[in-house]
Subunit: 227 residues, 2 copies
Amino acid sequence: MKIIEVDEELYQYIASHTQSIGESASDILRRLLHLPSLNIRSVALDLSDKTENIDRSLSLQQETASIYSESTVNQQTIQPQEEIVTQQVQVVERAEPDTELDVSKQSDAADLMILLDTPEFKQESKAVVRFLTILSGLYKLNNDAFTQAIRSENVQGRTRVYFAQDEQTLLDAGNHTKPKQIPDCPHWVITNNNSGRKMIMLEGVMREMGFDEKTIDYVKNAFVADN
Amino acid sequence: MKIIEVDEELYQYIASHTQSIGESASDILRRLLHLPSLNIRSVALDLSDKTENIDRSLSLQQETASIYSESTVNQQTIQPQEEIVTQQVQVVERAEPDTELDVSKQSDAADLMILLDTPEFKQESKAVVRFLTILSGLYKLNNDAFTQAIRSENVQGRTRVYFAQDEQTLLDAGNHTKPKQIPDCPHWVITNNNSGRKMIMLEGVMREMGFDEKTIDYVKNAFVADN
DNA sequence: GAAGGGATCGCCGGGATTTTTC
DNA sequence: CCGAAAAATCCCGGCGATCCCT
């Protein structure tokens, strides 16, 4: 083991991306950097558990699996039984209708993919709707992270303000921005821009929220997919 | 600074992504993680106490707006007329045993280096922002020395005026000089020149302020470093 | 402010490059 | 007239919002 020094904020960033209790800095960093894990990782397991639980299509299962395949490729060591037990507990807990606010970090990516995989979403032809739906999903996944993310300067324009808690702020910062409230969310977004910019906005928010690049890519693709 | 433990292989991975000599682990990781740069302006504000948490929510927008805003006409953030009064108050505030104009003191130089060492600064791609940030930092370090320094003939152009307490002075002395207010500082600088000239301007101010050559060199390097 | 969506086009800022001055 | 220093033009990339299409 090596010791490295990281600044306070980066430390917080890393710590905040803990996905399972007791995870080491290495584990977290490896996940964020898309490096293969040394220890068995539970992400793949989690995904499949969740899959059964939520009863979704097979195709998504495959997609999801392939997306994370990198992290499962060279995993030779198998983790103790405890791991599995934990998983089962989680499944049970999640078996009830999910109305609670604190969605465990672990399932962020999966929840998001489930949302984007619904026929309703895929069928949706309007970019604004897909845009708003994704934002709404992001908020629901982790409203604190989302609320923090949209404050970042990285999701602001040169003169326009992209996100705010109220319509007026957005109206004041630009002309004809066409603000819309994000569904089931206290925040507003501006809407009068092309799809490219909408994608940039999504990307910015997700990056701020700490999603890894793979997931961000997945969402971007889902957003773009027009049929 | 926080200490974290990473496994050998991950350590090698991070180290192998060094892009500039002397880069810290934090810098490298921030780049690899696509961590958004923070608001440079607030860093400058926070020069003397950089570990403290920064509230970026409200002040950020305003600061950013003032920097990029083109309609500087109705900006009344700073009042030139009361300038002298303000200065005097600050003198009194600074009236501690070792208050001098000699800026070459270790601690001041160190403060400056701390600012330039932040990943936020290093990651800043725009020369103007780095330029303004450094000037802001210089002012913060010793506003009297700074205010005196920019009056010197050595920081004026042949026809252009480089620094002034108000935009108009700069506008009057040249065409398309693109003056900008230095963040958290009552003074303005012109901005429409290449990076070489910006560096000459920094150098001039610092020399006038009494920085030693080593520190000046350090700052020049930090300013130039572009990635 | 009310039709709505969003691609297209034009403006703006950054700063290297070119032009001008001494 | 040449070289150096300063000034300012101008190109490029990014963002805003107009305006065309549905």
